[in-house]
Every structure is written in structure tokens, then in C-alpha cells.
Amino acid sequence: MTTPGVPEDVRDEAEGVRGEPQAVRDETEDVRNAPWDVPDGTRDVPEKPQGVPQDASDEPQAVRKGAPALHERRLHPVTPLRRAWAPVAVIAGWAVHDPDQAQRQLTRVATTTLLAALALSVLAAALYGFLSWWFTHFAVTDTELRIRTGLVFRRTAHIRLERLQAVDVTQPLLARVAGVAKLKLDVIGTDKKDELAYLGQEEARVLRAELLARAAGFAPETAHEVGEAPVRRLLHVPAGVLAVSLVLTGATWGTLAAALVVPPLLWFATHSVWTVLATALPLLGAAGASSVGRFVGEYDWTVGESPDGLRIDHGLLDRAHETVPPGRVQTVRIVEPLLWRRRGWVRVELDVAGSSNSVLLPVAPREVAESVIARVLPGVTVPASLARPPRRAGWCVPFWWRGYGLAVTDTVFVARHGLLRRSIALVPHAKVQSVRLEQGPWQRFRGLADVRVDTGANKTVTARLRDASEAAELLYGQADRSRTGRREARPDRWMA
């Protein structure tokens, strides 16, 4: 089915940009005819029914026009089911949120009416799920992943593969049982709607390999057969170490203590069961999420390296497989909680533009973490010592000024903050978008200034309380470095 995409392909071919191998493969899949070939904006709903019956019929028009017919595919047939249970979930959520009201309402209506209404809404949701699945198609072209979806409001997303920032294949628990997976491409500006959920497990793997091969710049003819790049395992976090690291984390104990102390206190104060439940449940939830939830999510954490970039696999119940292509990492942060320091453990986080996942290593010895960072940011070594602000910075931020630090190497801008929970941020010069110098009145009185470095992942790294003249020098120096830093960077298509 080549819908709004067709005119573009025609144009592209006229310019002689695209090859035709894509067109040859498409025999069995349906190809839509002229009424569908309207550019965006003019597509309206009444046309839709015309398009549907032509499924699975070979339309000669497309061949005649010479448009490379896209191999359009549907998602896995299990997909509609995930929507069918939405009404049940809504009712359950309402009942939990407001039990009093729910009970009163439920006793008023007869059981049969209730069951009928429930069955009807489940059916309606199933129908909606089926239709939205029916009208969702995706196709891979040489340069793009195209997703066409929408029942009433149609939507076409063309995601450019060379702008790819990361690929995630995730499998929630139920999806694992059903043998399906969710595939998400992180490109700046994509949203939740642009993920492919769900695909068959194997299909998701193959598609990821193909997308990465195309994004890497393999020739279109071979991209299909390249297959998965070999992975070399860099690190595996043992479950025991992960458990100990969580035990040594303050947040775990803080939320747990809150969950154990606050509800009894509330009980003595109010003697209202609902008040206690309403506070205890979220608190217990938070405590669970920060201890058990984190353990389950970060269980079996494996970091690997492949020509396609960094591979991160993790999860006990929900499995996630993330791939970050080379040169996409904007910032790396080394976090060192107070209680981990004796064991020399650190947590490493990374920022990728357009991606929400941020952990690279949940826990690892510092040397190991640094060697992994050296693989993630080639040619980068974490500087051993960072320059503290001048002593007079204590007048601006008493005591905590000792936590701040700065170092600039040939490749990265490094800034540290935090006294108890130290956090060191590394920004490659090539990833700096803009540099700012800020100085408040009190800072100027003391001859100090902050230097802020903005990266493409919408994070700002700040070197606080530097000497004013040093900061001014840093501002211009950093602008020069970030301008030239890009020259040595690898191309977007890392295999080209």
C-alpha cells in the first residue's frame, strides 16, 4: 500500500535519488490506487472505505506510474487485544481511586445491567482496537521508516533513519507471554505514537537489525541481509551487587521509612481508614518502586558493544533491549552516592537526544565504569582531579562550594557538583549547542561567574562559581572548542 508516500517517491525517482530494489519485492502485499494518492492535508475520511476493500489485490497502477511500491506491513495481530481491556482498567482505576463512590454507584445498578454494560464497552474497545490495528501500517524505505495510522484523524510519520538516536525493543511481561515486542525509534521530536507496538518477537529483532543497517549506511540492496551486528559483552551487573547497591541507597530507606511511619501517625491523628489508605498506598508504591521496582527493572543488566553501537539489555519481568548508535551520546554522568564510596561503586547515566532511558550502568566499580565510558565516548578519559572554585566561592554557597569542580580536556567539558552525592557530568565538545555565562549581583561582587553548557538532549551542564576572568576565557574557549570539535566526529551514517 503506497498511500501519501507515493507522490514523494515519484519525485525522488524523477530526481534519480532512490534506487528501485524496494519495488521488486512487493508482489503479495496490497498496493493502493489513485484515490489514496493524495498529498497530506487533502486526505479526508470518506475516502477511507474505498481504500480498504482493495487490500491484497495487485494494483497495476502503481507499477505503471513507476513508483517503487513499498513493502507495507501491519503490526502483530495480537495488538488489538491490548486495547480491549481499557474500559475494565478505567473502571478498576476509578474503583480504587474513589472506593466509596464506586461502591454506592455499583450497588444501585443491577448486576445484569452492569455485566451487559461491561461486555458492551469491552466489545467497543475491541472493535476500536481492531480498527486502529487495521489502519496502522508501516514500511521501511531506504532512508525512512514510515508509519501510517489513524482511523478518523489520519497521521503519517516519516522517520528519517540517518537522524536515528536510539532504537529500543521492549517487552512488557504480558508481551513476553504473547511472544511480541514493542519497537521504538528515538528521533528528536518523535512521540509515543511513533512506536511500533506490537511486533512479533523475531520480527522486531529482524526489523531492528534492518533499520540499524540502513541507518548505518549499508547499501540498500544488502541492508536487508546484513542481519544483526555481533555483540561483544562489556559488562554484566551481578544480581547480588545490584541488591547491595540498592540497600546502600538512601532513597530506598527514605521512602520505606516514610511508608512505615506516616500512616500510623495519620491513624492516631484522624482515625479515618480512607485517609490512611489514601496516603499509605502511594507511599508503599513509591517505596516498592524505588527498591523492588528498581531491582526488577535493572536485573540482569548487560552492556554490550557492537558496530551498531551500544547495546543495553535489562529487566527481570519486563525486558528492554536498547541500542544507541555511535556518536549519539550527548552527556555522560557519573553519580557517586555517599554510601557507595567506600566500595568504589558508581552509577553511570547517559543522555541521548529524544530518548527517555538514561541509565548506562546501574552500579559498577569505578575503573570498570571508566573503561565503559571510554568505549561510549571514544578517546575520552575521565580526568582524575577537577579544579575547585576559588575559596571566596564559600561566600556565595557556603560549605557546598567544595562539591563544585571543573576540568576541560581536549575532548570533553567536565563539571562536578554535589558534596555527599557527587555527580560528574562529561559533555563532548562536539555536542555543545551553546555556551552561556551567568553572573548575579552577589557573584559579581565576589568576582565569580557560572558557565553553562547546553547540549542537544535538553540538559544543561553548569560549572558553578568560577573566577570571573577564568569564566570569560572559558566561555570563548568552549565556543571555539565546540565549533571545531565536530570536525573529528564520526558521520551520522557510521558505516558509510
Binding site: Q165, I188, R328, Q330, A353, A430, K431, V432, Q433, S434, V435, R436, L437, E438, Q439, G440, P441, R444, R452, D454, T455, G456, A457, N458, T460, A472, L475, Y476, Q478, A479, D480, S482, R483, R486, D492
Partner: protein, 171 residues
């Protein structure tokens, strides 16, 4: 820094390393802001003078001194703030410096610019002013030059776009 490219040779003649050619804002912005200040605070002053003065007693009209003081203070503050704004086009990046008490200086390499925007509201248009805003991939980048002459704003936009294209870099 080497001298600029040929199209801005006139402006950058004699440029040397570390000595950017700063350009201030035209007086139109100051005029507009001061006029707005006078209009609004003037109305407030008259209101606070007349209402209590007529309703309660003439002594209460002294309340009007408060907005009047704010007006006078704001008059000079606007001047200081306007003088603090300046920008410089270097051969590879744009500098914007602003602020009196809270000073801020921003450097945006041309290659990092994603979008250059010229905006002009109804009031600004009446005063013949336009703002130029630069966007990079980082939302935190706050590079805006307000109160430019529309011709200058357009020249800047075209030049920035051109330089951005020439030095374009990915993320």
C-alpha cells in the same frame, strides 16, 4: 579570530582576536518601553491620586507618590537595561550579552543553529521594531535579540541562516 567573510567585510574591518565588534540596540526599543511604562504607571498614578483624594480626603492622594516613584525608578532602569543589551557577529559564532544586575552572555556557534525566527507584535510593529530569536537543538539556549530595526533583523536572519548552512553540523 580571522576577519569575517566578504559579505560583512564592512562591519568587521579591523577585527582582532578576542575583540568582538559589539552592536547595541537601536533607541526604538527604549522609546517603546518607556512610553509603555509612562502610559501604564501614569494612569495608575492619576488613579491612585484621584480616587482616594476625592473619596476620602486630599491627604490620601499622597499614595500616588508610590507609583510615581516606581515610574521614575523604572525610567532609569529601562535605560540601564537597554544599554546592557548588545550583540556581536563573529566569524563563527554569535554573541549576545545582556543584563545589569544579572548578567548573561551567550555564545551560539552558527553551525548549531536550527532555526532563526523574526517576530514582531502589534506594538512592536507600530514602533518599527522586530526581534530575532535563535533556536538550537537545546531548548535551554536563550538567544534572543529584541527591538531591532526590521531591516537589520532581516539582514541578521539572512546572514545567520546563510552562515548556519555553511557551517551546519548535526547533533
Amino acid at each position: 579570530m580571522e576577519t569575517g567573510t566578504s559579505e560583512n567585510a564592512g562591519q568587521t574591518a579591523g577585527r582582532t582576536e578576542g575583540e568582538p565588534v559589539w552592536i547595541g540596540l537601536p533607541p526604538g526599543l527604549l522609546r517603546m518601553r518607556r512610553l509603555l511604562l509612562v502610559v501604564w504607571l501614569g494612569l495608575l498614578t492619576i488613579g491612585t491620586a484621584l480616587l482616594p483624594g476625592l473619596l476620602i480626603g486630599p491627604g490620601w492622594a499622597a499614595f500616588a507618590l508610590l507609583p510615581l516613584a516606581v515610574l521614575l525608578w523604572g525610567w532609569s532602569m529601562l535605560g540601564r537595561n537597554w544599554r546592557s543589551w548588545r550583540y556581536a557577529e563573529r566569524s563563527d559564532d554569535l554573541l549576545i550579552s545582556r543584563g545589569v544586575l544579572w548578567r548573561e552572555e551567550t555564545v551560539v556557534p552558527y553551525g548549531r543553529m536550527q532555526l532563526v525566527e523574526v517576530t514582531s507584535g502589534p506594538v512592536e510593529r507600530h514602533f518599527g521594531l522586530a526581534s530575532v530569536q535563535l533556536h538550537t537543538a537545546a531548548a535551554a539556549t536563550d538567544a534572543r535579540i529584541p527591538g531591532l530595526d526590521p531591516a537589520e533583523a532581516e539582514r541578521l536572519r539572512d546572514r545567520l541562516t546563510e552562515l548556519g548552512e555553511a557551517r551546519s553540523a548535526g547533533l
